[in-house]
Amino acid sequence: MRTSLKAVAIINALHIMSIVTVFGTIFIVDLRLLGFPNVKRSFMQMHHELLRWTWGAFGIAAVTGVLMFMVNAVTYHRNTAFWLKMGAMVLAGLNMVVFELGTMKSAPSWDKNAIPPSSARLAGALSIVLWVAVIVFGRWIGFTKGYDFTIPEDVQFDFPVQ
């Protein structure tokens, strides 16, 4: 696949299309947890309607992400921004698990409230910060990939290596 640059470009574009859908849909749910911008709909309604789109898009992002990793595994493995992105995703996942298994148990008692309890608001705020961090580090990979590791000594270049 590394030899088909067109495939790499298309996979990259699909990755962006899916990650922005993940971010956009989860952002709406997170804003509802923060009691913003309107609270006519209950949290559980929004959770039910939106997160299936988030998960669908996340599936595509994960598949395209794994394909991109396979194409350039060594480069990614050595890339700091890549590991920061993975770290932010793990934290976003932990935040989700804590929220879904803990705070959300009591959702029937607060899901129609304008302002959910502080633990729910914290989960919403963390989710926004962590998914923005995933996008930041993801873009950062593109500007460091191939540049932030030392060149192996046995590689011969036609031009002088500084």
């Binding site: 574009a13 962006i16 859908t21 709406i28 996008i135």
Partner: protein, 169 residues
């Protein structure tokens, strides 16, 4: 157009953008975050027409919930996009993807303006309205339009690989 791009690329403003190496990734990140808001705002309105979300709310309410986010994020995208283009003008005007993207954005913006006026005119429509198959086709087309815009935005960086001899350099 290439001569203009080369001139623009040599202006002090363009050089100031190019020489701040952190600026381009920062602007691109903001640009990507905003397209998430732009696209998903339109997605929500389209999914309402398709009866997939907020089926118990009138379409006008859904539009009014998301329209300010759509237009604000689109404005931020215009700002970041203009600065990014000034920073790398030759790369942009050489990319067929760039011109296709700009054309589709014009269509997307005009259709959003038209849709906003139509919704305002039909503001009395009841909650739970079911829409015609024609409206559903337009909703799906809108989702596809914005997905293609995102695709073309990313493929500016891969213009030669995607379009081969159609690349405009």
């Amino acid at each position: 157009m290439h001569a203009f791009a080369e001139w623009l690329g040599s202006t002090p403003l363009s050089i100031a953008i190019q020489s701040r190496l952190w600026l381009t990734p920062l602007l691109q990140t903001i640009h990507i975050t905003m397209i998430g808001i732009v696209f998903v705002s339109m997605l929500m309105v389209a999914l309402r027409v398709l009866g997939q979300v907020r089926a118990d709310e009138p379409l006008a309410d859904v539009w009014h919930r998301f329209a300010p986010w759509f237009w604000t994020a689109l404005g931020v995208m215009l700002g970041t996009g203009v600065i990014l283009t000034i920073g790398e003008p030759v790369r942009e005007v050489s990319a067929l993807s760039f011109w296709l993207k700009m054309s589709l954005i014009v269509i997307g913006v005009i259709s959003a303006l038209y849709f906003g006026r139509t919704v305002a005119a039909a503001a009395g429509a009841a909650a739970g309205s079911v829409y015609s198959s024609r409206a559903r086709v337009v909703a799906v087309a809108t989702i596809v339009l914005w997905l293609v815009i995102i695709f073309l935005g990313r493929s500016i960086a891969y213009d030669v690989e995607i379009w081969e001899s159609w690349h405009l350099a």
